[in-house]
Every structure is written in C-alpha cells, then in structure tokens.
Amino acid sequence: MFDFLEGYDLWGAFWETVKLTGLSAVGSLIWGTVLAGMRVSPVPLMRGFGAVYVNVVRNIPLTIIIVFTSLGLNQTLGVTLGSEDFATINFRLAVLGLTAYTAAFVCEALRSGINTVPVGQAEAARALGLSFTQVLTLVVLPQAFRSVVAPLANVLIALTKNTTVAAAIGVAEAALLMKGMIENEAQTIAIAAVFAFGFICLTLPTGLILGWVSKKVAVKR
C-alpha cells in the first residue's frame, strides 16, 4: 500500500525537520530569555528595544523573514554564515530566521511568567541587597521558567510546524519532500496522510510530555 514511499528519503526529511526544530528551539530560548531580560530591565533604552523588537517581529509573517534571509541576506548581501555549501547555507539561514521569529514569542511567554512570581519574592531579594541581575537570574527567572513550561510547549509545537516554512528557501525538510512527492506520485491522499501522521508524531508527544512536566515542576502556591 505504501510502495510509493520507495525511492524517497522520508526519514532524512523528517530528521531535517527535527534538526531545524531543535537548533531553532535552543537558539530562540537563549535569545528570547535575553529579550525578556531586556524588557524588564531598569534601563529604559533596553526596555524600548525589547518592546520594539517583539512588536515588529511578531507582526511580520515568518514566510517573509525566511524568504528574506535567502533573497536579502544571502543573495543580495552575501551573508553565508560560514559555509560554502548551498544546502548548509540555507539550513543555517532557516535556523537564523526561525530563531529570530520564535524568540519574540518565547520572550512574551517568559515575561508573562515573570509576572506570575509574587511581588514579595523580588522584594525579599532586593531587601537582601541583591542587584537587578541577581534578582532576575537567581530568584525570579528560575520560578518564571517553571510556570511557563506549558506556554513554552505551545511555542515549541508552533515552531515544529513552522519549520515547514523553510521549504520556501529549499531546505530539504518534510514539507519540501511532500511537495515533490505529491507532484510525482498519484496517491495524493496517502502521501498527505503519511506527512500528517509524521507531524502528529512530532507534536502530540511534545504537548503531552511537556504538559506533564509543567504540572510536575509548577511552583505550588
């Protein structure tokens, strides 16, 4: 029944999707945390930068960002991200675009998590004489992270689905393979079912596991 799969590297394509997701997730977690730190920092200029970044990036379609990394950054400005190979360049550009976009959502999730930490915690930390950086990194952020596991899981799931946009600049991941297969093979519905199943396999466990984790690590108040 699934003979049409022969000759196609289905595992390879989904592995590419997983790699894109993983690398962008790590990148956007780091950049998003830095942005969230900026958005709550005492320096007005940094707060402004964080707010502008989040509001601008959130309102641009991811497709524009990804296509821009290829057409604008690579082909017009000659950014290669330290690689000569066409496929590697596009992969890295896609990770860059996904990271820049997802970080805005991570930042907003984290900021809402920071708001769930009771005022007394920060006040107590300040009373001990901790500086802003210490208050944030030692007291507030660890608690904020634990309370935003579920929203971050939603961001991660959205990111997993968003990696398909990388097909627009020719990264050989699942959506691009599906586009190719659907043009060459007759079994449209079966092909769509295979890819739908693949994505359900990626997103469903993420939601369930992280949902369980979020209950486990939640700070009971």
Binding site: A150, A192, I200, G207
Partner: protein, 303 residues
C-alpha cells in the same frame, strides 16, 4: 514605569543606568553601522532603488495593491468560512453525546497538529486532481482551504474555551428557569461567550493574515509577499527596498489588529455587563497540549 524587580533609581543607580544605556547604544550602533555599510557596499541604499515607492505611483497600483488585495481577500474568506465551522466544532466538543464529542475532538486535534503549509499543499493538489477549478484560481482556493481547515479547529478551541470560561451559575440559572440544552446554548451561553472570545478571535486574524504569505512563497498565489520578486525584478534588483516596504505594510496592518485586540480586551474586562471571562489566545494557539494551557498570556499564536 515601576517594577518590583528594581527600586526607583537613586543617584548611583541613575548613573549606572546611563552607563548601561551608553554601552547599549554603542552596541546597537555598531550592529547598525555594520548593516549600513553592508547595504551601501551592495548599493542597496541608492535613491534609485527606493525612489519608485515614493515617486512612482505604479509601484503601488500595479504591484503592491493587487498583492495586498489578494492577501486581504484570502484572509477575509478564510475567516468568514472558518468562524461558523469553528463555532459548530467547538460546541460539538461540549456535547453531552460521547460520539459527537469524540468525532469533533479528533477533527480539531488532527488539524491543529498539522502545519498549515502541508494542508495548503494537499488542498492545491486535491483541487487540481479532483475538481475543475481553473489553474488561475487554484492557489487562492488552496490557500483558503488550508487556512480554513487549520483555523476552524483553532477557533473551535477558542469557542470552547469561551463557553467554559463563563461562570457556572449562568448555565445553572438557565436550567433552573427551565430552558432546554439548545436554548441555554443559544440564548444564554453563546451571546456571553462571544465577548470573552472576541479579543482571541481578532488575534487569530493576525495569524491568518500572516499565513497567507505561505501561498505566495510555495503555491504561486499572487499575494503581498510574491509581489516582492516581481517588483524587484522590474525596478532593478531593489530586493532590500521591496522587502522593507512589504514588511512595513504587514507590520502596520497587524499592529493595528493586535492593538485593537488588546484595546478590546481591556474594554471588555472593564465593562460592567460582562462576566469578566476572557479567553487567553496563548492557551489555544498550540496543539494537543490539551489541558496544559493556563498560565501565561499575551502571546498570539505563532504561524
């Protein structure tokens, strides 16, 4: 603005803030300078490349406006079709009958777990194989179908969350005065939950507008993003200028929508007649994390 994270700045803190600001400005300035020199090296800042958007009205009438029109049309069609579908699915998920619940739940969770692009690619191929939609109209049909399938299920979750967010007393009171299930839903729960859902629905429009760009990149749908390549071809490789103009249009359009959504939310929360129930868009935007939502707020769904 005051925060619990730091004290109101005294003289030393003020000095420190100024130092940090200066360092930050220098860092941003360096990055800005690097971008500027990279751009001017490639001649992307020449007035030639930006001129069409300011002096040539054809740039707007022949390229940008038709693209924007298609973007808005696709978004409007998707919203209009997805909203009633989503309402039906959302209410079906709350049905008393197990089978209705299971079927509606499966449909919703299935389409929420699949990338919109996959749905669009499938719809495009399905229309070309099993229908006689002309190949000119097909991209639009495919984009709208993909968006409807995905967003109907997201809207279903918004509707469900909106109804569940109402105070329990509402349906109890309806039951007490002898209303039937259908009547309770139609005349008590739905009208009230609409106010709770409104901000989340408006934020979902932003997601739809952004997702139409997928059709331009992958399905030859001539929307706003796809005008970039034709435009920069016509005006002499002004890629950066074209991207900037198109991105600014998206940003302005969506910023108006997000601002409207948060204004609506603030207004509804304040309103005396409302029950104060509100749907958090972040909790329904993802997928399959059923019941894991809650906590957090303010993030619109990603693409």
């Amino acid at each position: 603005m005051n925060s619990v994270l730091y004290d109101a700045p005294g003289p030393r803190a003020k000095q420190r803030n100024i130092i940090y600001s200066v360092i930050f400005v220098i860092a941003v300035g360096l990055v800005g300078w690097w971008v500027y020199s990279a751009l001017s090296d490639k001649g992307q800042l020449d007035w030639e490349k930006w001129k069409p958007f300011f002096t040539d009205s054809r740039a707007w009438t022949t390229y940008i406006w038709p693209g924007l029109e298609n973007t808005l049309k696709a978004a409007a069609y998707s919203m209009v079709i997805a909203l009633p579908l989503g309402a039906v699915l959302g209410i079906a998920r709350l049905s008393d009958h197990l089978w209705v619940r299971i079927v509606a739940g499966t449909i919703v969770e299935f389409f929420r777990a699949i990338p919109v692009l996959i749905l669009m690619l499938f719809a495009n191929e399905a229309f070309s194989k099993y229908s006689d939609v002309s190949s000119d109209d097909r991209p639009m049909y495919a984009v709208v179908t993909g968006l409807v399938l995905y967003n109907a299920s997201v809207l279903a979750e918004i509707v469900r969350a909106g109804i569940l967010a109402l105070p329990k007393g509402q349906s109890e009171a309806a039951k007490a005065i002898g209303l039937r299930k259908g009547q309770t839903m139609r005349s008590v729960l739905l009208p009230q939950s609409v106010t709770a859902m409104l901000p989340a629905i408006v934020s979902q429009i932003v997601v739809i507008v952004k997702d139409t760009a997928l059709g331009g990149a992958m399905l030859t749908f001539s929307e706003l993003l796809s005008t970039v390549s034709t435009m920069s071809g016509y005006y002499g490789a002004n890629v950066i200028a074209s991207f900037t103009v198109v991105a600014v249009i998206y940003i302005v359009l969506n910023f108006i929508l997000t601002t409207f959504a948060s204004w609506l939310e603030r207004r509804l929360r304040r309103g005396k007649k409302s029950t104060g129930a509100m749907v958090d868009p972040a909790a329904v935007a993802g997928t399959a994390a059923t019941g894991a939502g809650g906590g957090g707020g303010g993030i619109g769904g990603a693409v």
